[in-house]
Each structure stands twice: as C-alpha cells, then as structure tokens.
C-alpha cells in the first residue's frame, strides 16, 4: 500500500531498481510482467461460509465470507446485499497501527468491492427472500496478514476464491412470512470471476505485481479488474504520478492477458 513504510527507500536502492529496469530486469530477477509465486488455499476457516488464504510472494491475505439475513437497501428491495470490509492488521507491517480503518484500508475495500460488484460476481437477485423485507447479506471481510506488496490483487483473488468456496443454508419463507434456514447447504450463486492486475509505474516502465520495494519507488500505480470475457469492470489509479493515454491502453492489454492466466491457474475457470 502506498501508505506503508515508516521509512523511505534508500537512494542507492532506488537507483539500483531504475538501472535494472532500464534493462528490463527487476531486483528479484522477475520479468516485468511476471507475478511472484502465488498460492491459494480455500476453506481455511470452517466456521465462515467460505474462506480463502492467498499469498503472492510474501504478501498474505485471508478473506472470510459470512452470510446473514438482513434488510435490503431501500432503493433495491428485491436484491440481496454485498458488503466488503478490509483490515490492514498490525501484524502485517511495522507501519500498520491498530485502530479503525484508515484511508488505505478503505481504498482497498472499495477497489475490491467495485471489482466484485461491477462484474456481478453474485446474482444478488437470487439472494432475495421476501422483497422489501428480508434478503441475504453477504459480508466479505478481508484481513491483510503480511504486507509485501500488491495487496489489491491478493485481496480480490482471495475474495473471489472465498465466494466460490462459500456454502450457505437454504432459506425458505414460511406461511406466516417467517424465514427459516434449512439444514441443507448450497453454494452461493457465483457467476463471474473478476481478477485484478496491478501495475506500478517506475521511471518510464511498468511492472506487474509490484513488490514492496517497487511500490516504494513507484510514482503511480494502476489496478485493472477484468471479468472472464475480457470486459473491464473496474479501474483504479493511485499515486501522485501521471499516465499518458497510451500508458493506460497498454496497461489494459497487459491486464487482460495476465488476468486470463490467473483466472485459469488459480480460479480454475
């Protein structure tokens, strides 16, 4: 996260990263479009409806999904609700303090939320029990456990994996209008598979999946979220630097290419 680091990166390391990049190389030997090693483990928290632990390099994020009966939003009486929350736990970095969400955890939650919502990851209409009165509310809670760069991609991948892994009780509406949970469990109606690809701009070059060092040197980053059909469903630019129009178009092409690989390898679709 750009808010991380109680200390700036050293000038000689900054110089080193830029020198290497001018030759198309990165500090850890990766190519500019390569991700670090990714691992996805599903169902790590049985008490949650669904869960997933994702690590990208040293970055570790765990997502738990909980589903409850609640009231619909007034402007969407026939739709279930989806709400995303992110915690930058103080375990994850020397500069994360315990306390309420700050602007970085809010940005993380909102970027993941947009990726899930705009791609219509869940058919929320299917979560309606009694229109205008009772719907299912899906809580996606993101807990960052180890911040080594690129929390966006790890968090969205963990969120989608957790939703795909989720099982909820089948609810029926009784004659008297009461809602009852049966003992049968069914999967959540997941129907799209958004994947985000984050790129950092360092000097004039893009690097995919920035490590912590690269995040500290980058002047700007862009996160592109796409769905299975290659549609762009969410974009987020961060940092004080700027992009040219060509930069943005190139980033989108790279994102579509890399997200196909991630979707195939880690979501199995």
């Amino acid at each position: 996260m750009l808010g991380d680091s109680s200390e700036a990166i050293s000038n000689i390391e900054r110089k080193r990263i830029l020198e290497l990049l001018s030759k198309g190389k990165r500090l850890d030997g990766r190519g500019v479009k390569d991700y670090r090693e990714i691992r996805v483990e599903r169902g790590v928290v049985e008490k949650a409806a669904g869960s997933a632990l994702v690590s990208i390099g040293g970055t570790k994020v765990i997502v738990g999904v909980k589903v409850e009966v609640g009231e619909p939003y007034p402007d969407r009486p026939e739709s279930g609700a989806l709400t995303v929350n992110a915690e930058l736990t103080p375990l994850a970095s020397p500069s994360f303090e315990p306390g309420p969400p700050d602007e970085y955890s809010v940005e993380l939650a909102r970027v993941v939320d947009r990726g899930l919502r705009e791609s219509k990851v869940i058919d929320l209409e299917k979560l309606c029990l009694i229109p205008g009165k009772k719907v299912l509310v899906v809580f996606v809670d993101i807990y960052v456990l180890d911040q080594c760069g690129n929390l966006f991609d790890a968090s969205l991948l963990a969120s989608v994996s957790a939703l795909m892994n989720s099982r909820v009780a089948q609810y029926v509406v009784g004659k008297g209008g009461e809602v009852e949970a049966k003992s049968k469990y069914v999967p959540l109606p997941v129907r799209s598979y958004p994947v985000s690809v984050t790129m950092a701009r360092i000097g004039g070059d893009f690097v995919v999946d920035p490590s912590l060092d690269e995040e500290m040197v980058a002047d700007a980053r862009i996160t592109v979220t796409t769905d299975k059909d290659g549609n762009v469903c969410a974009l987020q630019k961060g940092g004080v630097g700027v992009f040219s129009v060509d930069d943005v178009l190139e980033a989108i092409d790279v994102a579509i290419e890399k997200s196909e690989e991630l979707r195939r390898d880690f979501l199995g679709v």
Partner: protein, 258 residues
Amino acid sequence: MVGKIRKKLVGKGGDRVDGRKPNDLRPIKIEIGLLQRADGSAYIEQGKNKILAAVYGPREVYPRHVSLHNKALIRCYYRMASFSTEERKSPAPSRREVEISQVIKDALEPVIFSEFYPRSMIDIFVEVLQADGGTRCAGITAASLALANAGVPMRDLVASCAAGKVDGQLVLDPNDVEDKEGEADLPVAFAPQMGVVTLLQMDGLLSKDEFDQAFKLAVDGCKQINTLQKEALRGRYLAVGAVGGLGQGEKGGLSRVG
C-alpha cells in the same frame, strides 16, 4: 410446555462431545516464523482454534510521550476476525477483546526482560482467525513463541491452558460449547521454568476441592503445551494429530506455483 433439554456434553465413560476423554488436550499444530514483515510470529491450531500472533520490537516508541525511561513499553492487542465465530462479529474491538488484550499482556510481561530496552516498545498482536473456546490461552501460547522467534530476551516461555467443569465432570481444555454450556471455566498461564502462574481467571462455580483439582489439571495442561512449544521452536514446525492449516499451502486443491 416442555422446555428444551440440553444434550449431555459428557457421556458415561467420560466421553466428550468431540470424542475426547476428560484429561485430553485438543489436537495442536504450531508453525513459527511464518510472517515476513513481523520480527517474530507464530501460528497455532488447537482443535478448531486458529490463531496468529506477531511481535514487533523492541522498536522505537510511538508516540514518544508514552516512553518509559527504565524499560520497554509492552503493548498487546487481541482481536477476533469478523468471520472467526458462528455469528459474524463486527470488526470494531469489543470490551471482551480489550480485557483479553490486557490479560495477555499481563501473562507475558513478567517473563520479558523489558529493562534491557528502556525507551523502546515491544508490540504483541494476536489475531483470532477462527474461535472455538480458549482463545486467550492459545493466544498466549502463540504470543510467547512469537516473542521467542523475535529474539526478545525472556526468563521463560509461557504456556496457557484452561480447565473447566462440564456436566459435573472436570475437563481439560474445554472447547466452545463446553465453555458456554459448562459450569465453570478456569484459564491459566504458567511459566514452567520459573514455576509461576502469570494468568489466572475463573468464571462459574467450583467447590474448594473442585478448584484444587481443576487448577492442577490446567497447570498440567500448560506443562504439556510447553513441551509442544519447545519442540516447535526446535523444529520450527510441528503437527500433533491435526488437520488442515494456514501455511505455505503444500496441500490445498488449487495451490500452484504462479
């Protein structure tokens, strides 16, 4: 109208709901040093409990005015993830979490050589990813290992375990349903080399004799857990009759090298 009769939690042979005998600990798995950024870390699974502890420090005190001139300031935060319990819990800290944070700090501070690092700070963070009774005890066990992993000088490790009374039977290491439905719960933390108790709480009702027995049972549980702590530090990874895990993903259907 007949009221709901609670199912018996302890059967005739002393069999408990999860198949354990009264003096059995839950299966325990420990992993040490699994976080990259933290100075020290440890992860414990105890039955269905899944708890991660991290230590930062000794490090600079922030804010400066809380600095102690003669020793390190020790802070402890115990939090439960919102998905850790049956009903979703709000991410904001509850009074229970605030109390347990204090209790964990008091359980560990006596063994730390805080006087070696005046005007500095040692932070202990405990995050409960899944809760099933006895999380403060497992949290202390993990935090003690995280401190050792961070190289914080200590007189001793601290191991923690609870005893309880369920359906009239004294039991070791009660799980969530035993804790909630039982007659008493007695968490204890013990520093085995120093032979001292650093945490002691109780709620419920116990006769003097029952208390004596339960207390000794809990201390014995602490000693057993301490043996597991030592093995884990030696091997940096240990599983004792446990399943699944939060680890580097050697198993897990979709884990693959990216």
